[in-house]
Symmetry: C2
Subunit: 153 residues, 2 copies
């Protein structure tokens, strides 16, 4: 017997469309600003942030991929570029000869420190300034629920 599609009801439709538009434009704006001000896309910024917060400003490639929400392949390519830019360096892992350690250089840290204020300002301006405190709270709960739902399954 054919399984019937559970189509979206009008409310869900509206929600999904609005969500698509909002998230697309939000990320487009942040990406464009970051590219203009710091010379890197948001995904690369995320990599530098994760490294900067790790102990010793270094992480195994796999852990970094996990932390930055990137595939291993994508991270390999990205780190190759970041290394060429002088912002990241790679070292062999002493305990696992397959492993590579990515580590944030001083230059990379300085670049990140220079880019952060503008980026945070952008996040505030584009996102938080538009929402009430209650809405920020709702968005947090929704996002946490969703993140759990999506990564837990």
């Amino acid at each position: 017997m054919a399984v019937m599609t559970r189509w979206l009801d009008p409310d869900e439709q509206r929600t999904w469309r609005a969500y698509l538009t909002a998230s697309r434009v939000l990320m487009d704006n942040l990406d464009r600003e970051l590219q203009r001000d710091a010379g890197m896309p948001h995904a690369y910024y995320e990599i530098l942030v994760q490294l900067s917060e790790a102990p010793g400003r270094q992480l195994r490639m796999s852990q970094l991929a996990q932390a930055a929400g990137s595939s291993r392949s994508r991270l390999s390519h990205a780190v190759a570029r970041l290394e060429a830019a002088g912002w990241v360096r790679r070292e062999d892992c002493p305990t696992d000869r397959r492993g590579q350690i990515a580590l944030l250089t001083d230059e990379g840290f300085a670049t990140l420190a220079a880019a952060a204020p503008g980026h945070v300002e952008g996040v505030r301006r584009h996102l938080f300034d538009a929402l009430s405190p209650a809405q920020v709270d709702q968005l947090r709960r929704i996002s946490e629920t969703l993140a759990e739902h999506l990564t837990g399954s």
Copy 2:
């Protein structure tokens, strides 16, 4: 005088991180499923959807770009591919000789009709199934507020 950065407070930090994770994983999942089941990325699916809902299943390139939330350049490249796949056709605009009209072919419509149930099922499974009705309502309001804020400025 130097302008102080308005850093994010801990609640905002948490919200922003959770949002980034949730929206990234959500879109990654939908994109992967659509690529696997329909042979196209989500952005291309959006283009076909917009065309399918337009009167006569056709739109001027600019209007289509606007509707699908795409840059004009991106749309040009995308439509070139969709045309090669036989899903879209281009025609000259009769009232403006600079203009081009993109129109959904029957084959394109059939492909979309075949892909839609699976995709909607994915949206439901990944997004709506995890949220309470109240949360769906909150997400709608937040997204609409945000979309207005971002496109209005």
